[in-house]
């Protein structure tokens, strides 16, 4: 049996205490151990951005981190964005502006948009495009994604 390590992680406001194998990726821990399957596994090499979460206030690709490294961290996943049945303003803007098609890239893009608007409440189009440059949308729906983030910014989504 491989050695297991105890970790304590706060995910979306809930503290979890679990043990993990050292080689378990953070994304697999979120999906398999915590059953938070909103975070997607795409390329597993840090190229697609589907597994993006917010860790201690900054975006990170959870396929490029070990779960054991998240010990003591605060993590926000897509499940933590909405307030009960009420969508987060960024999610609402994505819905209103048809900014998702198959939806595979969406959880990661939402979190990058959230982190971007926290840092820069009124980004230019170029700043938005740079902010989401770590995401691949294979439906190629970038135009509406950018539009949705602009709308979210106009509506003051950064206050959430």
């Amino acid at each position: 049996m491989a050695q297991r390590y105890p970790i304590k992680v706060n995910v979306n406001g809930i503290t979890y205490e679990k043990t993990v194998e050292a080689r378990t990726l953070l994304v697999d821990f979120l999906r398999e151990d915590l059953a938070l399957t909103g975070t997607h596994v795409g390329c597993e090499q840090g190229a697609c951005g589907a597994c993006t979460v917010i860790m201690n206030g900054r975006t990170a690709q959870s396929c490029l981190m070990l779960a054991v490294q998240a010990d003591g961290a605060e993590i926000l996943t897509v499940e933590g964005l909405a307030d009960g049945a009420a969508l987060h303003p960024i999610q609402q803007a994505f819905l209103d502006n048809h900014a998702l098609q198959c939806g595979f890239c969406t959880p990661g893009v939402l979190l990058s948009a959230h982190a971007l608007l926290k840092e820069n409440s009124h980004p230019t189009e170029e700043e938005i495009r740079l902010g989401i440059s770590g995401h691949i949308c294979r439906c190629t729906g970038y135009v509406n994604i950018v539009k949705a983030i602009q709308v979210a910014a106009e509506k003051g989504a950064e206050n959430r």
Partner: protein, 292 residues
């Protein structure tokens, strides 16, 4: 795929990390920001017996000015360098280069030391640290030593680090505040590795001639390549369009670019000519502006 099994350690002190390296030698890998190593582990292109995670050695994350140089701890993350007022003020070419690294998620995790030790031929930091004539502080069982960036990068993904040593700091000598600088890179999408890149610095004398210059290329050689003939050509000269074009042509002649899916060697050589010209134009325009 998922990583194969390994022994995992997360020491809080550098001496504990060194003791582990001594034990595992070249069967250990150091995990810094993980933005290059983790993909290799996931794809099982790397299968180390031990992984030494140095992210808990927080004492090695800092940016300080000392003795006319900027000292940056090996664990300093790219975003910290990108947003540091001290870097922007004292070493703006570094801030400009860092903004080209990957995308926000990569810059949030990736570290200065990790990028230098990994030594991807097209990476931004090895080129800009070489252009700044940086020095790297290395800690090993026998103590510390310092290596010049130009000697640190030895070949394709190969650096002057022994299996029992750790890179601890990079020191970047400061150029005069009036120096001009530029970092240019060409790639198909922002965040991709450079098809070709260049870091350039120029300072002027009182006659507005080039007093000193530094030109280092990325992505067109196994290691960052100092365009020495181009530098020599500029020094003591007025930076006319003709001189800049000659310097750019020499840089293109002197590089040894690879051919791959992103571009042939000939294409990259042509690209070097263009980006070196643009970098020198921008650096000299900035230097002229600063002299006013």
């Amino acid at each position: 795929m998922k990583p194969a099994q390994f022994d995992y350690f997360a020491p809080a002190k550098i001496r504990d990390a060194l003791a582990l390296l001594e034990e595992y030698k070249d069967e250990a890998k150091i995990l810094a920001g993980g933005q290059s190593l983790m993909p290799l582990l996931n794809m099982r292109l790397a299968r180390p017996r031990a992984l030494i995670d140095i992210n808990r050695i927080v004492s090695h994350s800092y940016i300080r000015q000392k003795n006319g140089a900027l000292a940056i701890g090996a664990l300093t993350r790219h975003w910290e360098i990108e947003t540091s007022p001290l870097v922007r003020q004292k070493c703006p070419v570094l801030a400009e280069a860092v903004a080209w690294i990957g995308y926000p998620q990569i810059r949030n995790r990736g570290t200065m030391g990790g990028s230098l030790a990994h030594a991807h031929p097209a990476a931004e930091l090895p080129a800009v640290v070489t252009a700044l004539r940086g020095e790297l502080r290395i800690i090993g069982p026998a103590g510390e030593r310092t290596v010049k960036a130009e000697e640190f990068f030895q070949g394709f993904f190969t650096v002057a680090l022994e299996p029992n040593e750790i890179l601890s700091e990079v020191r970047l000598p400061l150029w005069p505040a009036s120096a001009g600088f530029s970092f240019k890179e060409f790639n198909r999408r922002h965040g991709d590795f450079a098809v070709a890149g260049v870091a350039a610095l120029i300072s002027l004398n009182e006659r507005k001639e080039c007093a000193a210059s530094s030109i280092v290329l990325a992505g067109v050689n196994p290691t960052p390549l100092r365009a020495q003939r181009s530098e020599a050509l500029l020094n003591g000269q007025k930076l006319s369009r003709e001189t800049i074009e000659k310097a750019a042509a020499l840089a293109a002649e002197d590089c040894d670019p690879p051919s791959d899916v992103h571009g042939s060697a000939d294409y990259r050589r042509e690209l070097v000519k263009v980006i070196v010209r643009r970098a020198l134009e921008e650096a000299s325009a900035r230097a002229m502006q600063n002299e006013k």
